[in-house]
Symmetry: C2
Subunit: 333 residues, 2 copies
């Protein structure tokens, strides 16, 4: 019988998360009971929202419980089945497979995936939660018109990279904000952003202003902090801001404030926070569009892959600091 | 020939507006030319938006021009007509009759009004721009469900008093914020608010908290400043905030900030600024509903009436400080 390994939440972070907040556990995986399957995970997805769950403070979902396996999306394959809906060899995505090698499941949280046209790990990235998040915020909140300017922070991240490409597909001008010249180069050369501004550059404020000669019609916000404050000073009439994440504020380091709400009144602008799991009904529509784009080479993404379950905590801390480039994965096999 | 008197903008305010910013002018009214009418104004409406127009800074509309008659809604009667659409004695509302006794008009900005069921001045108040503003923000942005809590700042003002009554009509719990015990008493005893909190009371923060045991689902914001900051700390999931005005910030005295945008993400909440003139297509629908409510005694309002054109500047300054109680009018005849 194979052994399962996983990380549980050992303690809640005070400020920055660190290794002491996680504990590695190991145990037998057990046999599937009637109606159950055993899933062997191939990839674990690491995402910024996990940091929010580690806190006790009110968030959009219940806190991660202490001593429970850390929440996390996974892709994998069925290796044993006593459930008629799944057979050995089926590939599946699990919105909460967790930070672990195996999972016994009743199948309710599993969705079968077709990996014949796209690699399996895309189903926790561009064709999974991050991709559908991008699709929802861009299409349902920002809804850009041709020629409008859409700003995307964390422009090369798992969500942002998809937002930029979808915005271009709608005929909008896409302006990325990313950390460092390599990411900015990738944003313009590979993802198709019209321009990308490096928020680590000393002249960031000037460069951002220069990148927005026609103001801002849409803002897809993944980061918050100072870039958010600067961008919201340049809103156009009827601007729409989708708040998807505020990673700059997650560890209490930098506040994300709207200094002067009058900018919303003057511009009749809208700011809306959202989380994709509130909109599951739209998932199939979004996924169909994203899979078609991906399978025909019209949707690109980059991955940063950490090798082995044990590397998950360090990879997670790095992602919170923007060290990853594109979708952060942990390869478990 | 009657003489026209009016106020023009003499200079832009630095900080608080004062008497030196206006200049009284007097001239012959002139005869209507072909296609024109002469309107004798009965009432001038004074509204907070006028303060924004006096500034040069970017606002939702062009600045009021120096030496032009001050912008302002009026109701009056046709006293001479060379336009087949209007006859002498017709009552009309003019979205920009201006701070003056008479106006020569080509009729394009005039709408005939039926004053048989409601008093004429209601058409610049509950049945005019303030009423339709209340209707739009409440129904199209907040859209309260039965049992939800809706907070209204400037709860007894021209807009707020209508918002509270419409919210109650939708089965929501209406919580008012107003300045002073008299306004608060009027809000609960006459307008039907479930509770009203006095923002001038020393224990305002505690009282507001106590008034919101189930949090905030909708906020109709007319004021901004500290009450806005305190109310937005108590948002529920999927809360909707309509930004109609930020009078606390208009003279540069108090900033209206959203301290932590994360509250929008955590609650998947929305903040939207609006101005009713962007939604003229909905005006007839709104007005029909409001007139019916008013004519059948289901919509109440209060008026503060200043007597005579010359009293307009002082009445305007008082309104910006919240000295009016209900709709601020100037009676011109």
């Amino acid at each position: 019988m194979p052994r399962n390994k996983g990380f549980v939440l050992a303690s809640r972070p005070k400020g920055e998360a660190n290794a002491s907040n996680f504990r590695l556990i190991e145990q037998d995986v057990g046999e599937p009971g009637e109606g159950q399957v055993l899933v062997k995970h191939h990839y674990l997805s690491l995402d910024p929202y996990m940091r929010g769950r580690m806190d006790e403070s009110k968030s959009y979902a219940a806190s991660q419980k202490i001593d429970d396996v850390m929440i996390g999306g996974t892709v994998g394959e069925i290796v044993a089945s006593k459930n008629p809906n799944f057979k050995v060899g089926d590939h599946v995505v699990d919105a909460n497979g967790g930070w672990q090698l195996y999972k016994l499941s009743d199948g309710k949280s599993l969705n079968k995936i077709d990996t014949s046209r796209v690699p399996i790990q895309a189903f926790v990235g561009a064709l999974g939660m991050p991709g559908v998040t991008a699709w929802y915020g861009l299409n349902k909140i920002i809804a850009p018109k041709k020629g409008e300017t859409v700003v995307v922070s964390a422009a090369t991240g798992a969500v942002g990279s998809i937002v930029g490409q979808l915005a271009k597909g709608k005929g909008a001008r896409a302006v990325g904000i990313a950390g460092g010249p390599d990411k900015c180069k990738y944003a313009t050369d590979e993802l198709g952003y019209d321009v990308c501004v490096d928020h680590r550059a000393p002249d960031f404020a000037e460069k951002l202003k220069a990148a927005l000669p026609d103001g801002v019609d849409g803002l897809f916000e993944n980061v918050g902090g100072q870039p958010f404050a600067l961008t919201t000073r340049r809103l156009n009439a009827f601007a729409r801001i989708a708040i998807c994440g505020l990673i700059a504020s997650y560890e209490g380091k930098e506040k994300s404030s709207l200094e002067d709400v009058r900018v919303l009144l003057v511009n009749r602008a809208k700011i809306e926070g959202f989380i994709v799991s509130d909109h599951l009904a739209l998932w199939p529509e979004a996924l169909k569009e994203l899979i078609e784009l991906a399978a025909t080479g019209k949707l690109k993404w980059k991955e940063t892959v950490a090798q082995g379950l044990e590397s998950a905590p360090e990879a997670f801390f790095g992602m919170l600091k923007g060290k990853n480039f594109g979708k952060q994965l942990v390869k478990l096999i």
